[in-house]
Symmetry: C2
Subunit: 636 residues, 2 copies
């Protein structure tokens, strides 16, 4: 039977227990300066000697004794008895206290003549000008930057003492295979410990990834005992099965102390904290996003608490494009894509499924919803912690609408121009509402022709209330997707997966049924709605249905068969003012360029005759001044 967590420790309590129970091993290591970038110095760093150590000439010229130059003028040139030719950086000879620039001297025989007096110490770099011997270069805890390393080298410092921690990482789970092995069904690649190693080593930890331990309590106990002895911190990654997880908790308790099991954090609930021979043991949940959360919210702060180089945390205030629900009593962490629209930042929450690693990959930040909050309304402003360089936010375009594989091609090409396209799936009305709110840059979708559109009163009046433009991406074929080749003749013999209300695919399906005199009740699966066009194809691919309506592009990309029914225009809908945004100008010039069309044509699933056309709502032809071409580097 499955054991359940008896009680959950709150996020705040778990974090403070972790820090207070384990104040830190105080481990340091010597690191050559050439490898010190990003490392925290464990002790203040002092200059080994003064720089410069002696007075130097700061100009090319002649070294003089300033008192010898008193009274020199155009009318009364002075010929110097004692003067020495020096170049910039040369040692100022003993007894000399000034340098006269070579331009201000005249050679008279083997002597120098001057026409202006020199003030004491002019053009001299005094000893210790940069730093004096023994003075502080870097305070304790400073994180070394590239240019600090130049200074350290100059001041005779060849190595630093840096804070570190030995971290032993144990992967457990009989279903795991190592990186490089193609998993059989039910197996997964052991990736959480790789992620842990890369993350913690970037802070200066020294990680040892141990071999995979299969689901055997004795083996897990042995691995824990050995790792706890050899390291300052042990991270044990549970397998993805509940059984394994429970072996780990039991194993920690058997060889040490289980401090808690289960935190009120989502994702990350199955987290464990233990102590073995005084060494902290963090039990990582098996699901990737849960493992990420526990690493980022617990392991990273612990190492920061121990003095390792802090993990960069950039925050932007952003408004939510859509409402965000959250479980009361749980601190939730949600992947978010942020972009700037007009003068405001907006965030679109992504899938919170703990198994969908792509939602982290596709996002550029995350939000933390405290336990006391039940969720936020759309337009609520909150902190988003960035997982990318803040400058990239400025280059991010948020798309909300119907997702078609063509957006991946567009995203790849846009990346070359320094633009990052983040897409979120939404129905037509919801996407247009998002445009109205100015919460996305553009809404990709296929709208019915103008005449048909007027029949959908809500959507039509919404569209009419705004000044929108429609940038044609491609003409795509909508039709029947199936694995076995379903055609309109076999509509009532197969099991369908349907599209959501208010989608062109749904409308097309209804038209198809009507033309074959079938009522929805006569069609199996009519009431089964998939969330996205991609989910239609995926459901058919997975055998959950025999057929559905989607685009040829999706059918092709899922390796499925396709029966064409109708052509539709896949367009980027946007507010007209967006045509003045340099990022959109650059995007449009990309859509209108040869490379994109060539790429579309290679897929064989799109027509590009209209690609790049910009129209307004009531027109089916180009009627808008198209920015002819973007400047080569238009992005600020």
């Amino acid at each position: 039977m499955v054991k359940r967590y008896l009680s959950l420790t709150s996020f705040d309590e778990a974090l403070s227990l972790l820090k207070s129970t384990f104040p830190g091993p105080g481990r340091t290591e010597i690191v050559p300066v050439i490898r010190a970038l990003g490392r925290a110095v464990a002790q203040p760093v002092y200059a080994r000697y003064a720089v410069p150590e002696v007075n130097l000439a700061a100009m090319d010229g002649i070294a003089v004794k300033s008192r010898d130059t008193i009274g020199a003028s155009e009318q009364h040139p002075v010929t110097l008895g004692q003067a020495a030719r020096v170049n910039t950086g040369n040692v100022l000879p003993e007894g000399f206290d000034a340098v006269i620039m070579i331009e201000d001297t005249w050679e008279v025989g083997d002597k120098f003549q001057i026409r202006k007096s020199a003030s004491p110490w002019q053009h001299v770099r005094p000893a210790g000008e940069d730093i004096r011997e023994g003075r502080l270069v870097l305070p304790k805890g400073h994180v070394v930057r590239a240019f600090d390393i130049g200074a350290l080298a100059t001041y005779g410092i060849t190595e630093i003492e840096s804070t570190t921690a030995g971290v032993g990482i144990i992967p457990t789970g009989s279903e795991l295979v190592p990186l490089g092995v193609h998993p059989r069904p039910g197996q997964v690649v052991e990736s959480n410990t790789i992620m842990a190693q890369v993350l913690l080593e970037s802070m200066g930890a020294s990680c040892t990834r141990l071999p995979i331990v299969r689901d055997d309590p004795t083996l897990i106990e042995e691995a824990l005992r050995a790792a706890a002895t050899a390291n300052d911190l042990v991270i044990i990654s549970a397998g993805s099965s509940a059984g394994t997880r429970d072996f780990t908790a039991g194993a920690i308790a058997a060889v040490g102390e289980l401090i808690f099991h289960g935190v009120a954090v989502k994702p990350g609930k199955p987290m464990m904290l233990g102590k073995i021979s005084g060494t902290p043991v963090i039990g990582l949940p098996g699901y990737p996003l849960a493992a990420q959360t526990v690493l980022r919210e617990f392991a990273v702060p612990l190492l920061e608490h121990w003095g390792l180089a802090p993990f960069a945390k950039h925050v932007v205030r952003a408004r939510l494009a859509t409402p965000l629900a959250s479980d009361l009593g749980f601190d939730e962490f949600v992947p978010v894509s942020v972009g700037r629209i007009g003068t405001r930042h907006w965030g679109i929450a992504r899938s919170r499924s703990a198994v969908v690693q792509m939602s982290t990959v596709r996002s550029n930040g995350y939000a933390h919803i405290p336990a006391r909050i039940e969720g936020y309304d759309a337009e609520h402003e909150l902190d988003v912690f960035l997982t990318t360089d803040p400058a990239n936010i400025e280059r991010t375009l948020l798309f909300s609408g119907a997702i078609d594989p063509v957006l991946e091609e567009l995203g790849n090409l846009a990346h070359d121009r320094g633009l990052f396209i983040h897409t979120a799936n939404a129905g037509n009305t919801s996407a247009i509402l998002s445009l109205k709110r100015n919460a996305c840059h553009a809404a990709p979708m296929s709208l019915p022709a103008f005449s048909l559109l007027r029949e959908n009163a809500t959507l039509f009046s919404l569209l009419e209330s705004m000044d929108l433009v429609f940038v044609n991406i491609a003409t795509r074929e909508q039709g029947i997707v199936s694995s076995k080749g379903v055609s309109p003749d076999t509509l009532d013999t197969v099991c369908w997966v349907n599209s959501g209300r208010d989608t062109p695919a749904r409308l097309l399906f209804d038209t198809l049924l009507a033309s074959h005199h079938l009522s929805p009740a006569q069609v199996r699966g009519y009431t089964t709605e998939a969330a996205t066009p991609g989910a239609i194809a995926a459901a058919v691919q997975a055998g959950q249905a025999d057929a559905g309506i989607c685009s040829e592009g999706l059918a092709t990309s899922h390796g499925l068969r396709f029966f064409p029914l109708a052509k539709e225009q896949y367009e980027l809908v946007m507010r007209r003012e967006m045509l003045g945004d340099p990022r959109i100008i650059s995007l449009i010039s990309l859509v209108q360029g040869r490379e994109f069309k060539a790429q579309l044509e290679r897929t064989g699933a799109y027509h590009t005759a209209l690609t790049g056309r910009i129209r307004s709502l009531s027109s089916d032809t180009s009627d808008i001044d198209i920015p002819s071409s973007a400047p080569p580097s238009v992005i600020p």
Copy 2:
């Protein structure tokens, strides 16, 4: 004779010449995912297989065929013929399409009974839920993050193709010694190429640092020719002498083409750009800050242009605490310390001397003043490019006033509390004006006693117009610093270096002279003013003067002799409202703590009886509610 630059290329033109002449080698390398952090992917990365590849159980429970469960209810339990026990992550057996949670099942003999029907695909992770085979994981140019690496591993990707460039770095100059060798007078450690290597490798370049070449045109030509053949970019670091620099320009011209020599950039003017066998050659000025500027403003953008991982560039808008002059016609880059005071960010410009590497080390950002600007007034708002994590700005305290070595001790301890103290030297009146402008957190200084203070009408009325508090750092002894032991008896026999007007040291010197019936004219060096108290000690140490007035701490830290004259209170002056700032509360609790006092006492140059006292202007005793102790982690 020294050759001068015939003409200077403008910053913008130099940068665009660089990029347009050298569009990039398109070099890539294969990098294992475990070492891919921070690398830019050269090609889009696609999933090797679907994850999961087959339908999986998403819960611990029993796999069922959903149609077998129709009609099950509390009143009419259904006993299932076909059902299989599954754990989370197990493969859903062929033909099954739903999972019922174990809590909702009852074992009846060897069969399972249920009391609720299962909808199709409930608690099932469909194949491809995370990603489908062949779908895009990372677009071209994406910079890999730690959690991306977990996803890559999960999707079967063991290595990435990453953009790189081979960079050959040649140090030249007969005055150079390698890292680890103590330079003799006039020699310097070869550190610019170390800095270049660390900086460019952090972007993914592969750097080869070549041996030091002495100032010999033939040797430089040979080194250039070899490096240009073996690399995509050559960086040649000139020695610090003008002669060397000119050898380099000539050598580039001799074996290739010198595109320009000299840019209208400060620091960085002597920069060169050349082309040898099609390979770009960047000539780095010898002075460290000039070398930094050329690396950051030219070499880094070139590699970014070539597709290497961009260098993080964080910007804050900050007001200038003091005016900032700039040469018209030159793009100037100035090290700046930024901190938040109240609701605004303020920036204090640091030394622009191209030889003072400590001004880069001590700053947390830099400002770029375009060529068309002659400078900015105080309070002008401008962009500051950060050289630290933006979160550190929040933890930065700006001090403007009289610098005493004790601030180094304070800075070290403050660093332990997550506070970064940045100090800038200023006279008393200027520091108080800075407080009035709210452009610094605190002004360290020693003010005359209240009775004496009233005699300085300007300063006094300024102080009286504000609500200030004075936090005592230490009582320090002011006296005569000298290398040979100067006492008040020998005032008129030695050469002095004086302090600036409006400093307590100047006042003390005047009092001393008056008590010995000496007029300023009778004292040698009275009119020679050092810019800072530290400069007094430094001038004496360097032999530029026999004696001066400074604190015992400075005399000690310079290894000089000291004759005590008077005690003074070294205090942190701040606006009263600062006592509510958590950072200041934390700082004060540090000043009042045992560790700081113990550290001060160890130096032997300070008295700590009053350390931590907080007083107001008119009172010499503690009259302010002292925040008794700061919470352990008070900084947001």
